[in-house]
C-alpha cells in the first residue's frame, strides 16, 4: 500500500516545493501578495475552476476526459437567466434547475460514452459544440441582468470573513478527497483507470461508476455556473469558454495521469492553488494576463517532464 502510494506523494512533494518557491518569489515581488484580503479574493476567483477540477480528477483517473464542462457551464448560466427572467420561476428554483440541467448534460455524456462506447475525448468534443451551441441559440446573444441582491451573497458575499463560495469549494474538496481516497467508489475509480477489463471481470460496475462520474462532472459545472453568474452579476452565453483547458491543466499539474489509474484530490488542490498563485503573483509583479498564460503552459510541461524523469529512476 505504501509502495503504491509513493509515486503520488513524490509528484505532490515536487509540486509542493514548487508552490512554496513560487509563493516566496511572488511575495518578494509585491507587498500586496501575502495579504489576507488578496489571498481570500484569489480563493473567490479560483472557485469555479476548482469545483470543476474536483470532478475532472475522477474523470481523468478513470482514463477519460470531459471537454464539455466549459460549455455545460455556459448552458447552465444561460438557463438560470431564462428560467428566472423569461419563465418567471422563483430564483431559488431556477438555481436548482440550472444545476440539474448540468447533471442531465453530464448524464448524456456518460450514456454516450458507456452505451455507445464512444471514446470520451470524442464524445465530449461533440457535446462541447452541442451544449455551447444550445447556449448560444437559446440566448440569441442577449444577456440577463438585474438579479436580486441576496443572490450575490453566493459569489460576492462573505461568511465568517471568508468568501461564501470558498466554503463550498472547501467542503466539496473534502468530500471528493474522502470519496476518492477512502471509499469503495474511489477504489473502483482507480481500478477502471488502471485496467478497465480487469475491473470489469472483478465485478466492478464499470459503466455505472463512469455514468455517475460524468453526471457529477455536469452537476459541479452547473453549480460553478450559478456561482459564476452570482460573482459577475450577469449571464452571457460565452461564459466558461476555455474553462476545460484550465481545469485539465490544474488536474494534470496535480499529478493525475492522463492515462488514468493515478491521481489524488490533494494533488489537484495544490495544482489549482499553484496556478492561481502564479496568475495573481505575476499580475501583481506587473506581468500582463497573457504573459501569465505563457508561464502556466511552461509550468505544465516542465512539471510533467520533471515528474517523468524522477519516476523513471524507480525503474
Amino acid at each position: 500500500m505504501t509502495a503504491a502510494l509513493r509515486p503520488f506523494l513524490r509528484h505532490e512533494a515536487i509540486l509542493f516545493v514548487l508552490l512554496v518557491a513560487a509563493l516566496f518569489v511572488l511575495a518578494g515581488q509585491s507587498d500586496r501578495f501575502f495579504t489576507i484580503a488578496n489571498l481570500l479574493n484569489q480563493g473567490r476567483l479560483m472557485t469555479e475552476i476548482g469545483l470543476v477540477a474536483l470532478a475532472m480528477t475522477f474523470v481523468i483517473v478513470t482514463g477519460g476526459i470531459d471537454l464539455s464542462v466549459g460549455s455545460i457551464l455556459g448552458l447552465c448560466a444561460i438557463l438560470l437567466g431564462v428560467f428566472w427572467q423569461n419563465l418567471g420561476l422563483p430564483l431559488p428554483l431556477a438555481m436548482g434547475l440550472a444545476v440539474l440541467v448540468g447533471g442531465v448534460a453530464g448524464l448524456v455524456n456518460g450514456l454516450i460514452i458507456t452505451r455507445f462506447r464512444v471514446p470520451p475525448l470524442i464524445a465530449t468534443l461533440a457535446t462541447l459544440a452541442l451544449y455551447r451551441g444550445l447556449a448560444e441559440g437559446i440566448s440569441q446573444a442577449r444577456s440577463v441582468r438585474g438579479y436580486p441582491d441576496w443572490f450575490f451573497v453566493l459569489g460576492q458575499g462573505d461568511l465568517a470573513g471568508v468568501p461564501t463560495q470558498l466554503w463550498i469549494l472547501g467542503l466539496l474538496t473534502l468530500v471528493a478527497g474522502v470519496v476518492l481516497g477512502m471509499t469503495a467508489f474511489g477504489r473502483a475509480t482507480y481500478a477502471i483507470g488502471a485496467n478497465e477489463t480487469a475491473a470489469r471481470f472483478s465485478g466492478v460496475p464499470v459503466d455505472r461508476v463512469k455514468i455517475a462520474i460524468y453526471t457529477a462532472s455536469g452537476l459541479v459545472a452547473g453549480l460553478a455556473a450559478v456561482i459564476f453568474v452570482s460573482r459577475v452579476s450577469t449571464t452571457r452565453s460565452d461564459m466558461g469558454t476555455g474553462v476545460e483547458l484550465d481545469v485539465i491543466t490544474a488536474v494534470v499539474l496535480g499529478g493525475t495521469s492522463i492515462f488514468g489509474g493515478r491521481g489524488t484530490i490533494i494533488g489537484t488542490a495544490i495544482g489549482l492553488v499553484l496556478i492561481q498563485a502564479l496568475k495573481n503573483g505575476l499580475a501583481l509583479a506587473g506581468v500582463k494576463g497573457d504573459g501569465t498564460i505563457v508561464v502556466i503552459g511552461l509550468v505544465l510541461i516542465l512539471a510533467i517532464l520533471a515528474s517523468n524523469l524522477f519516476s523513471r529512476e524507480d525503474g
Binding site: 476526459i65 464512444v118 461533440a126 451551441g133 441559440g137 505544465l300
Partner: protein, 326 residues
C-alpha cells in the same frame, strides 16, 4: 449463425471496393451534395459562384490543417494547439511581409517554423514520454499568451502587393482550393502507398507490434508532428493572406474545428484508421452547413448547436458501423 462469420465474397466489383474502403468519405460526400441541392432549390443564390467561392476558398485552410491533424491522430496522438500555432504563424508571416522581407520569405518562414515547433512537440511526446494532449495543452497556453503579449492584439495592415496568395486564381479557381485539392490528393496517395505512410497507421494501430516489426517509433512520431507542422504552416499562410489585414488573435475554437473535421472525416481517435480525403470533405461539409443556415434564414446563433448534433450523429453512426463489422 454461421452466415455472420462467412468470409467476404470473393467477387467484388470496383464499386463495392470503393464503398467498403471509403464508406465514411462517400457518406460525407453524399451529405454535401444533398445539402447543396436542397438549399440550392430553396434559395438559388446559395449556388452562386461567389457563395461557393466563399465556402470552398474561405475554409480551405481548415482542410489543409486537418490533413496534418489526421496524420497525428492516426498515429495515436492529438494536437490541441493547432489553432494557436496557425495564429502565431500567420502573424509571423504578416510581420515579415510588412517588414520589407521578400514575399517568398513571408510565405516560407511559417512553414519552416511550423515544422520546427511541431518537431519539438513531437520530441517531447516521443522521447520525454509526455502525453501529446499535455504537451499541446501547454503549447496552446504558451503560443496564445505569447502572441497576445508580443503583439498586444494590434492588427497588421499595409500588406505589400502580391503577398495575398489566397486571393490569387489559377484557371478561374481560387488558389486556396488548389492547395486544398492538391495537398489532399498528394497526402492521401502518400499515406496509402509510401512506407512511412503505412508506418503512421502501424504505430497508431498497435505500437507494440510496430516496434516488434522494427519501426523506430520515437523517430516516426517526431516526423509525423513535423509533417503536421508543414501543413499547419501552409494553412497559416492561406489564413493570413485571405483578408487585407491580419488579426493578431488566435481564431477561437479553431483547434476544435480542425480536430472535428478529422474525426468526422473518419479518422478514429483510437488511432490506426482513417484517410485525409475524409477530413477534407468534412471540413467542406461544415463550411457548407454554416453557409446554408444563413441562406435558410436560420439564426446564426444556432450554428454551433447544429454542428454539435451533426458531429454526435456522425460519431454514433461510426461506432454503430464498427460494432456491426466486429
Amino acid at each position: 449463425m454461421s452466415a455472420a462469420a462467412a468470409p467476404v465474397p470473393a467477387r467484388s466489383s470496383a464499386l463495392r471496393r470503393l464503398v467498403s474502403g471509403y464508406g465514411q468519405e462517400l457518406i460525407i460526400l453524399a451529405a454535401i451534395v444533398a445539402l447543396m441541392i436542397v438549399v440550392g432549390l430553396y434559395n438559388p443564390r446559395f449556388m452562386s459562384q461567389s457563395n461557393l467561392t466563399s465556402i470552398f476558398a474561405g475554409n480551405a485552410y481548415i482542410a489543409v490543417a486537418a490533413i496534418g491533424m489526421s496524420m497525428v491522430i492516426i498515429s495515436g496522438n492529438i494536437d490541441v494547439a493547432v489553432g494557436s500555432l496557425i495564429g502565431v504563424l500567420a502573424v509571423l508571416s504578416g510581420t515579415l511581409a510588412v517588414g520589407g522581407y521578400p514575399i517568398w520569405v513571408a510565405w516560407a518562414a511559417p512553414v519552416v517554423v511550423g515544422i520546427l515547433v511541431n518537431a519539438g512537440v513531437g520530441a517531447l511526446v516521443a522521447y520525454a514520454r509526455i502525453p501529446s494532449i499535455v504537451v499541446t495543452l501547454g503549447m496552446l497556453s504558451i503560443l496564445k499568451g505569447g502572441l497576445i503579449s508580443v503583439t498586444a492584439g494590434a492588427w497588421i495592415t499595409g500588406l505589400p502587393e502580391g503577398y495575398a496568395i489566397a486571393q490569387a486564381r489559377l484557371f478561374g479557381v481560387p488558389a486556396p482550393v488548389w492547395f486544398m485539392v492538391v495537398l489532399t490528393i498528394a497526402a492521401a496517395w502518400w499515406m496509402r502507398n509510401s512506407g512511412f505512410g503505412r508506418t503512421i497507421y502501424a504505430i497508431g494501430g498497435n505500437p507494440e507490434a510496430a516496434r516488434a516489426s522494427g519501426i523506430r517509433i520515437e523517430r516516426s512520431i517526431v516526423a509525423v508532428f513535423a509533417i503536421h507542422g508543414f501543413f499547419v504552416g501552409i494553412a497559416a499562410v492561406l489564413f493570413a493572406t485571405q483578408l487585407q489585414v491580419i488579426q493578431s488573435t488566435v481564431p477561437p475554437n479553431l483547434e476544435l474545428t480542425v480536430i472535428t473535421a478529422s474525426v468526422v472525416g473518419g479518422v478514429s481517435i483510437l488511432g490506426g484508421t482513417g484517410t485525409v480525403i475524409g477530413s477534407t470533405l468534412a471540413a467542406i461539409l461544415f463550411a457548407a452547413i454554416g453557409s446554408s443556415l444563413i441562406f435558410l434564414n436560420v439564426s446564426a446563433y444556432w450554428l454551433r448547436a447544429v454542428q454539435g448534433l451533426l458531429i454526435l450523429a456522425t460519431v454514433l453512426a461510426d461506432m454503430a458501423r464498427r460494432h456491426r463489422i466486429r
